[in-house]
């Protein structure tokens, strides 16, 4: 009895915390719930509703490019292709960024050369520069090189935008790795390159993972660059695709947008980020623990 009275008498901070937490979660999670609900609703409507029935037909439609018959909404015919396009852009971005960031950050971390500090400042500055500020020269460059309407072209431009930041991040990981390890590898008979592959890279795994993760996301989420560089609808990445669903059908959007497949596509669009995050988080934790134990 007295315990309850006491609780009422003293405002509990935990209660306050719960209120804040629940408000935040409602704010963040409602759209997500809405999206999920619509994507599995047998009768998708553009507002949050209790589904009459649950179906995965919309996902199948998206993944197999087969429209659900009987609806009166226009079904975008390239959804499957958009997913592939996004994967190509993101994958290529990852490859470009990881290779270049490893080369650049290793050199910046380990080699001594004239003008290194200036170079590092320039790299940092170019990372701060908004891509859109340079879009005109970039567009002209892409046109000259035949990279308009080209997924690899999008990846190259996106990679160039994220590369400076990634170089700095990876350089931090290289800097932390004791030079002893590398020198010991040389003593054991490695040349510089094999020491990098056998000793350094395996020990900056978390750094590589972070860089790969961030560059994947910058490719996956890219919108403005594909907007400018991609003209043909079948070359759209998912981001442009979803937008186009709305743009192509002006007016009473509720009547013409095919909400089921669109939401299913949006759910699929969100999955890689979440999955990668979960995957990476565990890896990061594991490696940090191991590191702590060594010394």
């Amino acid at each position: 009895m007295s315990g309850i009275l006491k609780k009422i008498g003293e405002p509990s901070y935990t209660l306050l915390e719960y209120v804040v937490l629940i408000t935040l979660m409602t704010y963040v999670l409602t759209p997500l719930l809405w999206l999920l609900e619509t994507s599995v609703n047998t009768d998708p409507v553009p507002y949050l509703s209790i589904p009459k029935g649950i179906t995965i037909d919309h996902f199948i439609a998206v993944l197999t490019n087969r429209p659900i018959t009987g609806g009166y909404a226009a079904h975008p015919v390239y959804m499957t292709r958009w997913i592939v396009n996004s994967l190509i852009i993101s994958g290529t971005t990852v490859i470009i960024v990881v290779i270049l960031a490893v080369l650049a950050s290793y050199s910046l971390s380990r080699l001594r050369f004239r003008g290194k500090n200036l170079l590092m400042t320039l790299i940092l500055l170019s990372g701060f520069m908004p891509r859109m500020a340079m879009i005109l020269p970039l567009f002209q460059l892409c046109r000259t090189l035949g990279l308009v309407d080209n997924l690899i072209g999008v990846a190259i431009v996106v990679a160039s935008g994220t590369l400076p930041t990634q170089i700095w991040i990876l350089k931090g990981f290289f800097d932390q790795l004791p030079r002893d390890l590398e020198e010991q590898a040389w003593i054991c008979g490695c040349d510089r390159v094999s020491a990098v592959f056998r000793i350094i890279l395996p020990n900056v795994g978390p750094g590589l993972a972070v860089v790969a993760f961030m560059s994947f996301l910058s490719g996956w989420g890219a919108f403005t660059i594909p907007l400018i560089l991609i003209r043909r609808e079948y070359l759209f990445p998912i981001s442009l695709g979803i937008a186009s669903v709305f743009i192509h059908n002006p007016g009473e959007i509720g009547l013409v947008v095919d909400y089921g497949p669109t939401c299913a596509l949006a759910v699929l669009y969100a999955i890689p980020s979440i999955a990668l995050y979960i995957l990476l988080r565990e890896r990061l934790m594991e490696i940090r623990l191991a590191r702590l134990e060594v010394r």
């Binding site: 390890l181 003593i187 060594v294």
Partner: protein, 358 residues
């Protein structure tokens, strides 16, 4: 398995002179200890021999072969870093096997050799562990195993025992000596601990501020130090070094509060010197409660019993003298006692050049 020659090695880091015209020959199969206080250039010397650092000037030879431009990986030098530098992502087995893997030995051969060396080092039950699952002593053995597995011509050890506790240190140093003998590598062992150096070395090279002070067997360094630094650095407790002046007319050494007669055979050697430093080991002094011939009275300053022996620090106005006595000798602080010098075992150094005269 090779003789190493350092010829006029000088190394600058920016304006810091880490090595100053170092000349040193390390004989085939010898265990040479580089001894000196922290920052005297020991690690730098090892790194130049390994090829991790380029000398500013001077040359390095293995046998007759000039090594200055030979890349690290082609030197067949093994080095145990002070940090051990075990590869954190590899199991113990892979760490030890690494040099052979790089040299592309067949798998069976690698397995056999790792097993052999792991047995010698008594780490054969740890092969599946990662370095962070090992104790300091075990990590040290793994590092040794990795260094020894390819039977290196040169074995470099940079303070290999510094991170271990005292008991393990004593154990490992005899082990290292035994291993070095059986692998017949030419070894250079770096330490700042003179006891460790004395116990393990075939010969010791004493360094200070990048300059070589003296090279010799532990015995030579102990009994015939070339200069004041070596005299003070080698031996426990460290040698008494007393300022005094030589009075040529009277033939005595004047310490201010007392004088000592100089033995006839030494007198001619001291001719021309006035300010000198006398060095005498604490064990070469006799202390007694009664006056003995040629003894001088001093006051007991402190007493440090060490079990078997007692170190007594004696003082007069301007001198402090350490004496080692048997534990049975009891005295009180402030008490007056008599000390006699074993003049035959006395060292005399020129105060200006700090070099040994006698």
């Amino acid at each position: 398995m090779v003789e190493i020659t350092l010829e006029n090695l000088t190394k600058y880091f920016g304006s810091v002179k880490a090595l100053d015209n170092l000349n040193l020959k390390i004989h085939d199969k010898e265990l040479m200890v580089l001894l000196g206080p922290s920052g005297c250039g020991k690690t730098t010397t090892l790194r130049i021999i390994a090829g991790l650092e380029k000398a500013t000037s001077g040359h390095l030879y293995f046998g007759n072969k000039l090594m200055d431009k030979v890349p690290v990986r082609e030197r067949n030098v093994s080095m145990v870093f002070q940090s051990y530098a075990l590869f954190p992502h590899m199991k113990v087995f892979d760490n030890i096997a690494f040099p052979l893997v790089i040299a592309k030995y067949p798998k069976d051969e690698i397995k056999k050799r790792v097993k052999e060396i792991a047995e010698i080092l008594r780490i054969d039950d740890l092969l599946d562990r990662k370095p962070h699952q090992l104790s300091g002593g075990q990590q040290q053995r793994v590092a040794l195993g990795r260094a020894l597995i390819r039977k290196p011509t040169v074995l470099l050890l940079d303070e290999p025992l510094a991170n271990l506790d005292a008991k393990l240190r004593v154990e490992m140093r005899s082990e290292i000596k035994r291993l070095q003998r059986s692998f017949e590598s030419t070894a250079i062992y770096v330490t700042h601990d003179q006891v460790e150096a004395m116990s393990i070395a075939d010969r010791i090279a004493v360094l200070k501020d990048g300059q070589l002070q003296q090279v010799g067997t532990p015995d030579e360094l102990y009994h015939h130090p070339d200069n004041i630094f070596v005299a003070g650095f080698i031996g426990t407790p460290s040698m008494n070094l007393l300022d005094c002046s030589f009075d040529e007319e009277k033939g005595v050494l004047d310490f201010g509060s007392f004088t000592l007669d100089v033995p006839e055979n030494i007198k001619p050697l001291l001719k021309g010197y006035s300010e000198v430093i006398v060095g005498i080991r604490a064990r070469d002094l006799q202390v007694s409660k009664e006056k003995m011939p040629d003894s001088i009275p001093l006051e007991v300053y402190t007493i440090e019993p060490l079990g078997e022996e007692t170190i007594i620090i004696l003082s007069s106005e301007n001198v402090r003298i350490r004496v080692v006595t048997h534990v049975e000798f009891k005295a009180d602080i402030g008490e007056k006692v008599w000390v006699s010098f074993d003049l035959d075992r006395m060292h005399i150094f020129d105060k200006k050049t700090e070099k040994a005269i006698v």
